[in-house]
């Protein structure tokens, strides 16, 4: 039971972590909470369904690399959405009072929800994972004594870890990653070094949206069903994960997401599953009481 909850928690937590990264990266650079980010995650789930549909039509859904293609399609397409949202809804407000982009983000959120509802329907959409994997894959997994780690869970945890490792390498080692950290620490000085801050901001939105979309595909794969309003609760929880981990900190978002997933899983398993959504807020309150800047938060060292 314990091990099973641990695995379940890690799976959900990895997904929260991926979404939380989008919040924390944007905040690190702009000190702005992108409240539309949950909707990009929701878009990602739908894009996964669309990609699966396309592959099925071309008779390629059973191909070994099909899951990778589905996730890549969703990530690339959502990245384009993220870049466009930044350009249209946020950049014109860069010099405006701080409240304006927040309101704009709420607007984007409403637009995206309704766009998906109108184009994809208000009813649940099914992600037909049986098209992607054999029934063996869906039903089975590794047995570890009394608990089972399904292949789907392994796939989700593995992919999420790979994406997070890739992001860490990008931010730590590349020229653009360095520019992102520099911009987060001192935007004016970054500009004096020749950094085009607009490009850095766009890149941040693009990467955050791609990670959010990957999380969306994973959720579709995990639960098999999505609808147009999943972005709200998931976005809220991932935001909590980012704040608890220390908003602005990339490792903090990863840690916060995992922590949240574990708390939900153990809470549901040992206390009550009816209060599942409450645990996130309990964690947030406890963390903020003990350490207001978040677990790995630091006023100075953002991103």
């Amino acid at each position: 039971m314990f091990l099973q909850q641990l695995i379940n928690g890690l799976t959900v937590g990895a997904i929260y972590s991926l979404i939380a990264l989008g919040y924390t990266m944007v905040y690190g650079i702009l000190e702005f909470i992108n409240f539309a980010h949950g909707e990009v995650y929701m878009l990602g789930a739908y894009l996964g369904i669309i990609a699966l549909g396309l592959l099925t039509q071309w008779g390629a859904a059973g191909w070994a690399l099909a899951p990778l293609l589905v996730i890549l399609f969703a990530m690339v397409w959502a990245a384009a959405w993220g870049g466009t949202i930044e350009r249209v809804a946020y950049r014109p407000l860069r010099a405006a009072p701080r409240l304006s982009p927040l309101i704009s983000a709420l607007g984007v959120s409403i637009v995206l929800q309704n766009f998906v509802m109108l184009t994809q329907g208000a009813r649940d959409q099914v992600f037909r994972r049986e098209l992607l994997f054999s029934s063996d894959f869906n039903a089975c997994g590794l047995s570890l004594g009394a608990c089972t780690v399904s292949y789907t869970q392994l796939l989700i945890i593995g992919t999420a870890l790979a994406l997070m490792a890739g992001l860490t390498l990008f931010v730590d080692r590349t020229r653009m990653g360095r520019a992102m950290r520099a911009t987060a620490q001192d935007q004016r000085m970054a500009r004096l070094c020749g950094v085009d801050v607009d490009t850095v901001i766009r890149t941040t939105f693009v990467i955050g949206s791609a990670l959010g979309a990957a999380a969306g595909v994973m959720v579709a794969l995990y639960y098999g069903v999505v609808n147009f309003y999943i972005g709200y609760v998931a976005g809220l929880k991932a935001f909590i994960a980012a704040v608890a981990g220390g908003i602005g900190s990339i490792p903090g978002a990863m840690l916060g997401g995992l922590l949240l997933g574990l708390a939900e899983s153990f809470g549901a398993g040992y206390l009550s599953s009816q209060y599942k959504d409450v645990y996130a807020f309990v964690i947030l309150i406890v963390v903020l009481l003990v350490r207001p800047q978040g677990i790995l938060g630091n006023k100075r060292d953002k991103v």
């Binding site: 360095r178 950290r181 004016r188 070094c193």
Partner: protein, 247 residues
């Protein structure tokens, strides 16, 4: 070694401001200032707090739009260009307060100075040159910039500025808040930078020291240029002596 090929020859002035006006929102800080910097000079820009010195170099670096007037560099109009284009043209600013990226290592701070150098190997070679010039920074290469002392941070800020191999360096208050012995080192370094072929604009509170090493100087008061002359002439000038040299 320090300088890139100077921009295409034109008039003798490398940098000139003509009737530059700018400010923040409704507040105009510079009321039409003019200034000229010739290739290879050290030009001191003096003035009290709030006179507009920092605003002037922010405008040159493209951080602040000019509301009137023009800035030209190497014979071309650079008014309104974004900061990254101005850095690319060879004008680098070492800002007041050093502005070291606190969470980036010394090495990464230097990497940022060469941000526009796309070639990785060229950046690495530049960093080795900087470490040879500043052995102290080499010792601390993997330390976060925020952990350096004030003097070390100033050295790092200047080294970072040199990484892009500029033709013109704008130095804003490089000696502010440093111990006297470090101040000496900074002024020696500025001479060395000029000897390496880089033109220098020096904004300083320390009028005495900066006029000693400057070829020419300007005195800015409440957003207007009130005096201009050689370093020696300004040092001897009654108005400068009374207001800035405490004589």
């Amino acid at each position: 070694m320090l300088s890139r090929a100077a921009p295409a020859a034109g008039p003798a002035a490398l940098l000139s401001l003509r009737g530059l006006r700018c400010g923040y929102g409704q507040l105009e800080v510079l009321h039409g200032i003019s200034l000229e910097v010739r290739r290879g000079e050290i030009v001191a820009l003096l003035g009290a707090n709030g006179a507009g010195k920092t605003t002037a170099i922010a405008a040159i670096s493209g951080l602040l739009p000019a509301t009137a007037g023009a800035i030209s560099y190497g014979g071309r109009d650079i008014t309104g260009l974004p900061p990254d284009r101005i850095v690319a043209l060879g004008v680098v600013q070492v800002p007041e307060g050093r502005r070291i990226f606190p969470g980036l290592t010394v090495r990464e701070n230097l990497e940022m100075g060469a941000y526009l150098t796309e070639n990785r190997r060229a950046r690495a070679a530049g960093i080795e040159r900087a470490f040879a010039m500043f052995p102290r920074l080499a010792e601390r290469r993997d330390q976060p910039g925020g952990t350096l002392s004030g003097g070390e941070q100033q050295m790092l800020a200047i080294a970072r500025g040199l990484m892009s191999q500029p033709a013109l360096m704008l130095l804003d208050e490089p000696s502010l808040g440093l111990a006297p012995i470090v101040v000496d080192a900074v002024f020696d370094l500025i001479r060395e930078i000029r000897a390496g072929g880089i033109t220098v604009v020096l904004v300083e509170q320390n009028a005495q020291r900066s006029l000693e090493i400057a070829d020419r100087g300007y005195l800015l008061e409440t957003g207007a240029m009130v005096l201009e002359g050689t370093g020696a002439a300004l040092l001897a000038h009654q108005r400068v002596r009374a207001s800035y040299l405490g004589a």
